[in-house]
């Protein structure tokens, strides 16, 4: 059924359809309506949705509730993501299924609350100490806000990891015509539970990268959870072999080769020497620009990564086969473009940037294609 709703509403719907039953957040533009709609939607369904005292408490409550067995969501914008930083590390270390929505706004710091940007692309990836991987998905519009939220829950459950949905003010607060029900067929993934009755080793894995079975804190089997480096019992360790085992495991668990982690959309044209690679709301302008360029007789391919991190490097290399130029439109000074350069040595990477809150228009991408 058709609706006329914005990205935040689609996100909350995605969370509900994913089985989310716990939300904690703190008001911040442009993420606030996720908090308010979660309260309206979850409370009547027997779930919990709270406004916590700050962002640190919000994400902490979510982490604890997730470890108690709930599917959890929190939502914020750049300033709040900064406050989430340490806790994102905790969620990586403790292997906590957790979905975080970052409706990006202009930074640094308070920046401009109602002005869009895609400035958190690198921050989302590297925004906690240690440098271990997590998953970052970027919707491009209202429809994919729903779809990526569903994916985010499934990946968080499957890999016991924080997943960031990198939205932006332009997606979060723009209404579009959508049929979210038509997208709702995706099956929900549930975390693998430890077999009942046995003594539970919270972090036991047969090989690095395997996802440890879950038992809830407060459930039948005793669980140990810790922010510190730990062994398979969840006990702090100083043994270098055990430390290496745990960290190699975290590194191996989430890669572009991990099943289901990478999603993207590709529109390849035979013989194209130009590729437009765009994510987030810029992908919509890119799609129009490519269509117009083709109508004018040019050969251009389009690649839209929904998974920004881990970076779908193999897919990008495949998409860029035979291409001599890649155009990367971004609402920042070219954060992902630098990564594209790393992945595609010898290919000319052209940046099309807007940082003043206006959108990269299709015409700006076309101009580059005409050069």
């Amino acid at each position: 059924m058709l609706e006329f709703v914005d990205g935040n509403t689609a996100t909350v719907r995605g969370a509900l359809h994913s089985g989310c039953s716990f939300f904690a957040g703190y008001p911040i533009t442009p993420a606030t309506s996720i908090l308010l709609e979660s309260i309206r939607e979850l409370a009547p369904r027997g779930g919990v949705a709270v406004q916590a005292e700050d962002e640190i408490a919000s994400i902490s409550m979510c982490i604890a509730a997730s470890m108690a067995g709930k599917k959890v969501l929190t939502a914020t914008s750049g300033p709040g993501l900064s406050l989430y930083s340490e806790s994102i590390g905790l969620a990586i270390m403790g292997e906590v299924p957790l979905v975080i929505v970052d409706t990006q706004r202009m930074g640094p710091a308070t920046g401009a609350a109602t002005t869009t940007a895609d400035g958190d692309v690198m921050f989302a990836r590297w925004g906690t100490s240690g440098g271990y991987p997590l998953i970052v998905l970027a919707p491009t519009d209202v429809r994919t806000s729903y779809v990526m939220t569903r994916h985010a829950f499934n990946l968080a459950e499957r890999y016991r990891t924080p997943v960031i949905v990198l939205s932006s003010k332009e997606i979060a607060l723009t209404r579009q015509t959508v049929d979210l029900d038509a997208e709702s067929g995706l099956a929900n993934v549930e975390r693998t539970l430890a077999p009942a009755g046995e003594k539970y080793l919270p972090y036991a894995v047969a090989r690095p990268g395997e996802v440890p079975a879950f038992a809830p804190v407060g459930g039948e089997q005793l669980v140990r959870f810790t922010t510190s480096i730990h062994d398979e019992r969840g006990l702090i360790t100083t043994d270098p072999a055990k430390i290496a085992k745990k960290l190699e495991h975290l590194q191996a668990k989430i890669t572009e080769a991990s099943p289901g982690v990478v999603s993207f959309e590709e529109d390849r044209q035979e013989g194209a020497t130009d590729l437009v690679l765009a994510y987030g709301v810029a992908a919509m302008a890119a799609s129009e620009a490519v269509e117009a360029a083709r109508a004018a007789g040019r050969k251009v391919s389009l690649f839209v990564p929904y998974t920004l991190w881990p970076m779908p490097e193999a897919r990008i290399r495949a998409a860029a086969k035979g291409v001599t130029r890649v155009i990367v439109p971004e609402h920042n000074f070219g954060q992902y473009a630098a990564e594209v350069e790393r992945v595609l040595p010898g290919v000319k990477v052209v940046r099309v940037n807007r940082i003043d809150g206006s959108l990269v228009p299709p015409s700006a991408i076309r101009e580059e294609l005409e050069r």
Partner: protein, 440 residues
């Protein structure tokens, strides 16, 4: 003695320095559990950073060890997710400093937690720096000339924030297990400030012995004993008993809002995308009118997008809605130059001036009479807004103006708009809204 407690891991010596009080308090918690005898699986012990954070591995219950000063936030989350769990928090005086806000808010909310502060007046783990409870004049590694900051009275703070069970005890008090048991049985936020010796740093630096600890209590007016026991059930314990006067709490079960589904009922003949701008001022309900137009467009077989622009002080200043209506799905949602604009107030004109000035000759601007716009390239048609405002109310002028202008855009869209307003306006506003669009 209580190393034999089933709530402790057997044969695991405490890692604490000789004479440190932490082991005594852990024993005290275990002895309290020995009195209450909950199932181990129903107990969660939450800890965070500091020497106190070494406590968790000695407990044979669920343990959750988190970031510095945040243990109360995890405990609150756990309690919300599993109300049946008995949740203990062990936190240091350092943690109460960095995470003091969480202590205040959890006490205010009445979260049903038992918080034990292992209060040894300094940061033991990092090298004896001063904490928020270090007494005035005390020497620590970061106050070599004596501490000049007033110590935080954690019990007074908890009480002021609404904690319903508050106690202070020295770690060596034989009553400790009994008081911990009382705190654990208390439904609501319970805090025990346990005064301790840090034999690595604080006691050698300040020749701080049992007698000094007892004297400090008197000198600092921080008495020992159970200071508050109000036995008030907590909100989170699902018994609503706020003892403060305030707004009534809604008690009927809330209903989830239903999505607004839109069925195609009209057939607009628009052949290409059309940009529309509605610019006015706060109170003219421009955002809602824009959404009504978006819904009407969808019901007329079109695709629509809407963006709103208004200051954070929502009851004043401009309010501008940008819409794109299109026979095909809209990908790029930016609007450069609208084909149709409605200007309902000076604030809107000033905000959208650039866009309005860029509108070409074949575009049309419907502007409220009396706005005295400069000469524009687009054709300007006047709307008698004052008259309409008197007739339909200020809050309906945007609906009125849209219904007046839509027939020139597309007859079916105009019909869909009137029908959509009738169908989707909340009942208490519906009659007036319908009157506004039908007046046109």
């Amino acid at each position: 003695m209580s190393k034999l407690s089933p709530y402790l891991v057997p044969d695991t010596p405490y890692p604490f320095c000789p004479g440190c009080s932490h082991g005594q308090v852990i024993d005290g918690i275990a002895a309290a559990l020995d009195r209450l005898l909950p199932a181990s699986k129903d107990v969660v012990l939450v800890s965070d950073i500091g020497c106190v954070g070494l406590a968790d591995k000695h407990f044979a219950v669920h343990t959750f060890h988190g970031l510095h000063g945040r243990s109360i936030t995890y405990a609150s989350g756990l309690k919300l997710a599993r109300p049946e769990a008995r949740v203990f928090v062990v936190i240091g005086d350092g943690g109460c400093g960095i995470g003091g806000h969480h202590l205040i808010q959890a006490a205010r909310r009445g979260d049903d937690l038992t918080v034990l502060v292992f209060d040894n007046f300094n940061y033991g783990m990092t090298g004896g720096e001063h904490s928020s409870t270090t007494p005035v004049g005390a020497k620590t590694s970061s106050t070599p000339y004596g501490n000049a900051e007033r110590p935080l009275d954690l019990c007074a703070l908890a009480q002021a924030a609404g904690a319903t069970f508050v106690a202070r005890l020295p770690a060596f008090d034989p009553e400790l297990p009994a008081v911990v048991a009382r705190a654990a049985e208390h439904r609501g936020f319970a805090l025990i400030d346990v005064w301790e010796f840090c034999t690595a740093h604080f006691t050698p630096a300040n020749t701080f012995k049992k007698k000094d600890l007892l004297e400090l209590s008197e000198a600092a007016h921080m008495p020992f004993g159970v200071l508050v026991d109000r036995g008030v059930p907590s909100w989170s314990a699902s018994t609503p008993a706020p003892e403060h006067p305030g707004l009534p709490i809604v008690t009927e079960a809330p209903k989830a809002p239903a999505p607004v589904y839109l069925e195609r009922a009209f057939a607009a003949k628009l052949e290409r995308p059309l940009g529309m701008l509605v610019a006015g001022s706060a109170g003219q309900k421009i955002k809602s009118a824009g959404t009504m137009l978006g819904r009407a467009s969808v019901r007329a077989g079109l695709f629509a997008t809407q963006k709103d622009d208004y200051p954070i002080t929502v009851k004043t200043g401009h309010s501008v809605a940008e819409l794109i209506l299109s026979p095909k799905p809209v990908r790029f949602t930016g609007l450069d130059t609208p084909e149709v604009a409605i200007v309902l107030a000076r604030e809107g004109w000033l905000r959208a001036k650039k866009m309005l000035e860029a509108m070409p000759e074949d575009a049309v601007i419907f502007a409220a009479k009396g706005l005295e716009l400069p000469k524009l390239r687009a054709r300007v048609e006047e709307l008698d807004l004052d008259h309409a405002s008197r007739k339909v109310g200020k809050e309906n002028v945007a609906l009125w103006a849209l219904s007046k202008t839509l027939p020139s855009v597309d007859a079916e869209l105009a019909a869909s708009f009137v029908d959509t307003v009738g169908r989707f306006t909340p009942s208490r506003y519906r009659d007036q809204a319908l009157a506004a669009v039908q007046t046109a």
